[in-house]
Symmetry: C2
Subunit: 116 residues, 2 copies
Amino acid sequence: MYRKNGKTYHCSVEAALDVIGGKWKPLILWKLGDGVMRFSELQKALPGVNAKMLTKQLRELEEDGIILRTVYPEVPPRVEYSITGFGMTLIPVLEALCEWGSKYLGTGCNEDQDDK
Amino acid sequence: MYRKNGKTYHCSVEAALDVIGGKWKPLILWKLGDGVMRFSELQKALPGVNAKMLTKQLRELEEDGIILRTVYPEVPPRVEYSITGFGMTLIPVLEALCEWGSKYLGTGCNEDQDDK
DNA sequence: CTGAATCCATACGGATACTG
DNA sequence: CAGTATCCGTATGGATTCAG
């Protein structure tokens, strides 16, 4: 039994799933693994997501220390998202999930990895 | 874009999370990784779960080919659950998640692994 | 013993309109 | 550009009761 941020987990796997389990989070991390992106770029890169959902998932990842949000005080505003060092430790885990998921789906890994 | 069982996935990671993302699924798989268990044993081993939830998660895992459900036509009824060969391929993935989750929580891996 | 049925609360995901 | 505010439908998780 573990506690973190007021949440209770029965095992550490549950905690990990809580961090990456959001509907768009794996995709966001995959994209950010390739480099810094701004909000509008992410929105274009994730077909089907809307601003509210994207914002929410990004905020949660930020609170968990996985990504970094940098606001540039310009007009028009510019906000850039990048993966943190701690967030990078998630990439191998995502790759393991991707590999297994591909087996499950009976297909190869998808194009979202591109140059990875 | 992938499809399986009428569901649409944006990436294979999403599909994998769909299989193991249930609230009790990681724990169930962890337990079954150590050997066959019957319904009541699982219920005792998973503090806080109720029959409905346990049944639901077990059925989903069964439909995904991860576990096997064996009914013995006795009185009183006996039902045993075991992990399939395909399900075993998930164990390393769960271990990766556990390891990362422990790092995230700032603790060691939990007792649910016991003799693993 | 192993569930199925019912009812319920909340969380999650999303469409749309609006703002500094 | 990068969100926020509002509203809404559905899914998820759970307590309780009943049944073969």
